[in-house]
């Protein structure tokens, strides 16, 4: 996709026309994928490109950015009322890299408020709709980015993944989404939800595009102390197939709670990989059952601290007349945050409180270590090279179906959160449909083995038609 687009642009097609057409389409759309567009700057940049085309890995390529990734001069509100109108004075590291490689930022996409959710329903700006069925959620929290890419409202997008927020919507919208190894992509400029878990990653129509975006955004940034060097090779290592590859199939990721259609598609995918020369064996990740609890304690604890800075004093929501600072902060936060954000701040505050810290937070960190060891053991030399699982236990659910029942929403993350706890990379690729709704296959790799994950996904994609199926145009 992106390769063709770049070729067309290099051959002299007008970037401005393409960007303008994109805006046209977005404005007619019923999806509500975007919170705000950067129409003027994008068109201006496209015109500059047409006048004097530049080179670069993403020269002239439009890209949509999740609303929690800071863009200089473009509103970055995290789909929260409290940040409505907040325009960052600086670019996130990934944005600097995208610009350097010639990409054109077209707008900021809708998401669950502060990335807290699995459906994009907690957005202050209304939910995004799934392009495959407008009554269904696009997944979340990067629902806007996934829906935009699936519906052709952006050729590619960035999302962020704290507990599945790239892979879940990629799965629900039938596209490719990669969560990189923790530390591979700088988080500088990503509005923090749970710092120790999240990574920025690509949402694209195919695996090659994901690899291309990774070439641009991966690598060390001195402004993020947790970031490391990238060895690259995402594109050059794509081909090579799966001959001799050992796929681990974790038994804890199948069975109860998994939609039979999902399970069948994933087993079909495993068979397909076998056909292509891979072998599979059952592995065990014995601490999987503790992952959700540990994940939510860690994520909410960090979130309670991260979101404390939003008080309206320096930026963001302001209400009428100020009173003493304590009252004013309280009122702004009461009005500015939605119910899911408040729930997580409260739970996180509780988990970190004196007397509970050891019982919850510290214990969750210990569980996290055990889960990381589960993955290291399963992926050790002589074991599996990659793990193959469903991304989500079921396809996209109906809007409103689960939002009133937070626990059932949290349960939906059961196969995605252990990956963030372990810090390993994982990709979701389309692997079938259930009643017209896309199903995602999750391929998990060793720490920093993005190349292995992408290569496996590419071999599978080359042998299957699912990524080529697109939703009927929804306008």
């Amino acid at each position: 996709m992106l390769r063709e687009l770049k070729e067309v642009l290099a051959a002299g097609a007008s970037a401005e026309e393409r960007v303008a057409a994109l805006f046209e389409k977005i404005k007619r759309s019923k999806l509500n994928a975007y919170n705000n567009l950067s129409e003027d700057s994008a068109l201006e940049r496209a015109r500059e490109f047409d006048r004097a085309p530049w080179s670069g890995l993403l020269a002239g390529v439009p890209i949509a950015i999740k609303s929690c990734i800071s863009t200089r001069g473009i509103e970055t509100n995290c789909s929260s009322r409290i940040l409505k109108g907040y325009i960052p004075p600086y670019d996130a590291h990934v944005i600097e890299r995208l610009k350097k490689e010639g990409a054109i930022v077209v707008g900021k996409t809708n998401m669950d408020e502060f990335a807290m959710g699995t459906s994009t329903e907690s957005s202050y700006f209304g939910t995004t709709r799934n392009p495959w069925d407008l009554d269904r959620v696009p997944g979340g929290s990067s629902g806007g980015s996934a829906a935009a890419v699936a519906a052709g409202e952006a050729p590619c997008a960035l999302g962020s993944d704290t507990g599945g927020s790239i892979r879940c919507p990629a799965s629900f919208c039938g596209i490719v989404g990669l969560k990189p190894t923790y530390g591979l992509v700088s988080r500088y400029g990503l509005v923090s939800y749970a710092n120790s878990l999240e990574q920025i990653g690509p949402l694209t129509l195919n695996v090659e595009d994901a690899a291309l975006v990774m070439e641009v955004i991966a690598g060390h940034d001195q402004r993020d102390s947790t970031s490391v060097n990238s060895e690259g090779g995402y594109l050059s290592g794509l081909d090579g197939g799966v001959e001799g590859l050992v796929c681990g199939v974790p038994k804890e990721y199948f069975g109860e709670g998994v939609d039979p259609a999902v399970e069948k598609s994933v087993w079909d995918a495993i068979s397909k990989l076998e056909e292509l020369g891979a072998s599979w064996k059952e592995v065990s990740l014995p601490h999987t059952k503790y992952a959700l609890a540990a994940y939510y304690i860690i994520a909410m604890s960090e979130a309670s601290s991260n979101l404390a800075r939003f008080d309206g004093l320096r930026y963001g929501l302001r209400l009428g007349a100020d009173q003493d600072w304590h009252t004013t902060f309280s009122e702004i936060r009461a009005a500015g945050f939605g119910p899911e954000v408040k729930r997580r701040i409260l739970l996180g505050t509780y988990a970190l409180s004196a007397g509970y810290y050891g019982r919850y937070y510290l214990k969750a960190l210990k569980v996290r270590t055990l889960i990381k060891q589960d993955f290291e053991r399963a992926l050790a030399t002589g074991g599996a090279d990659v793990l193959v699982t469903p991304t989500m236990p079921f396809p996209a659910f109906k809007i409103g179906e689960r939002i009133e029942d937070p626990l059932s929403l949290y349960m939906a993350d059961v196969f995605t959160v252990p990956i963030n706890l372990a810090g390993v990379p994982a990709i979701s690729v389309p692997c079938g449909f259930a009643d017209g709704l896309p199903i995602g296959l999750q391929i998990i790799g060793r720490h920093f083995d993005e190349v292995g994950v992408l290569r496996t996904a590419k071999a599978y994609e080359d042998a299957t038609p699912y990524h080529e199926t697109v939703p009927k145009e929804v306008v």
Partner: protein, 472 residues
């Protein structure tokens, strides 16, 4: 006086203001003469999405201080978040240390109230970031509005926590003077800059709960705030009111402390490890930092006594400020070390103090010149003091001042002539002296000084007058 029932512990916040940049961002630390909010960036303003990056220089300074305070350096050290809301804290948490601070278990020697050397134990030394500065329109409890200046926000601080080993406001002051002295020796700190050192103090009477007094910004303020607190707690006790554990704010203008919150309202800071920073293994740094550690006050004082043969009191006075110590050594190398010690410690320091001036106001070269004139008997001691005062007040150089003021010591013959003349003229005083009133000699000496226009050495004149009188 040390009071047996007073228990004081200090938490001293020291700004590492000799660093070039802040603790977690590249902003300059040179903000003291700048307009508010001009030394800020997205990181120290805590804008959404920004991350801290640790200044390695700050860690090195912290190790230096911890070593100088005789602390044990922790091999691995890490940062925590201390969560609380306050308008001067843009992230609503302070990045600080909690478990595994950089240094544990040190000590400082001070002169106790009984005159004996006393050990004050240091509990811990840890790094943290400075919050912004609040400027209240009026007093903290009555301000109509408050402004925030984030220039200071993110400056590297060291918190030095003592055990409750201090027994009086004066001891607290001695401790702070000594700490400042050490910090300046280490060249990590300029104590003259505003906000360089801020002190929180825990104070209680034996058997009572403690009050934490916050926001003390000077050494003098510590003495005043603690004295106020002792009086307040004592009088409450006399009235039968029990002290409750509480936090109080020192109002420097009014010289009083006011309660901010009691234990029931105490914050739960919800400390947890800062996920955006990684643990630091610093064990490997320590040998190098230790090797580069400069000579500290106590060691310098001992060396001065041994190397220059000067009195311990002089050595102590000369080493109480690194700049004075350096001044002394410069002068001592070019003149008599003992004479230099006496003149710098006893005279020059007093004259500087009187004028609220620092040692930089006087040149070592001038001091050498004055001492050499003294040694050559060209000027009297009185004349030398006059030269020092004149240079401090009006500038100039020693030779010029001596010339202009006619301070060249008068020849002995001239003095002798004046003595003879004075004895002749003051017949009444001579008679009084002879009849046993020894004080009347002063009148005659005064006459000699008058005749020599003050250039005679008073002691010498006294001796000569006495000789002349005894001859009569």
């Amino acid at each position: 006086m040390a009071e047996k029932d007073v228990i004081i512990g200090l938490e001293v916040h020291v700004q590492l203001n000799k660093l070039n940049s802040k603790l977690f961002c590249g902003c300059s630390t040179d903000y003291h003469d700048s307009a508010p909010n001009t030394h800020t960036c997205p990181v120290c303003l805590g804008l959404p999405g920004t991350l801290p990056v640790l200044n390695r220089g700050a860690v090195e300074y912290a190790i230096r201080v911890a070593l100088a305070l005789n602390c044990e350096i922790q091999g691995e050290t890490l940062f925590y978040r201390k969560n609380y809301y306050y308008p001067d804290l843009p992230k609503a948490f302070q990045i600080t240390q909690y478990d595994f601070p950089i240094g544990l278990g040190g000590k400082i020697l001070i002169k106790g109230d009984d005159g004996e050397e006393k050990t004050i134990r240091i509990t811990r030394v840890h790094m943290e970031e400075d919050p912004g500065r609040l400027v209240h329109a009026g007093t903290i409890d009555r301000a109509k509005y408050t402004m925030v200046d984030y220039n200071r926000c993110g400056m590297a601080l060291l918190e030095v926590v003592t055990e409750p080993d201090l027994r009086s406001p004066k001891e607290a002051r001695s401790f702070l003077d000594k700490l400042r002295n050490i910090l300046e020796y280490l060249e990590v700190f300029d104590g003259d800059l505003e906000g360089a050192m801020r002190i929180d103090s825990n104070i209680s009477l034996v058997g009572g709960e403690r009050a934490e007094v916050k926001n003390i910004s000077s050494h003098k303020g510590v003495e005043k705030a603690l004295a106020y607190e002792i009086t307040r707690q004592r009088s409450a006790r006399r009235r039968g009111v029990a002290q409750v554990q509480e936090t109080r704010h020192y109002d420097e203008l009014r010289g009083i402390t006011v309660t901010i919150r009691t234990k029931e309202e105490a914050h739960d800071y919800r400390y947890f490890p800062e996920p955006d920073l990684v643990p630091m293994r610093i064990a490997d740094w320590v040998p190098r930092v230790e090797a580069e550690l400069p000579e500290l006050p106590d060691a310098k004082r001992e060396r001065f006594v041994a190397e220059y043969g000067i009195a311990d009191d002089h050595a102590k006075s000369l080493t109480s400020e690194i700049r004075v110590a350096n001044f002394y050594e410069d002068v001592a190398k070019r003149s008599s070390p003992r004479l230099a010690a006496a003149w710098i410690a006893d005279v020059l320091k007093g004259e500087l103090n009187y004028r609220d001036a620092t040692i930089e106001s006087f040149s070592p070269g001038h001091m050498v010149e004055i001492l050499s004139m003294l040694e050559a008997d060209k000027i009297t001691e009185k004349g030398a003091v006059e030269v020092i005062r004149t240079i401090l007040d009006a500038g100039g150089d020693p030779a010029g001042v001596v010339e202009a003021k006619g301070l060249v010591k008068v020849e002995d013959d001239a003095v002798k002539e004046a003595v003879q003349a004075a004895v002749k003229e003051c017949s009444q005083a001579v008679a009084d002296y002879k009849s046993g009133n020894e004080k009347s000699i002063n009148f005659i000496v005064g006459m000699v000084m008058k005749k020599t226009r003050g250039r005679a050495d008073p002691a010498e004149a006294n001796r000569l007058v006495k000789e002349a009188l005894d001859e009569i």
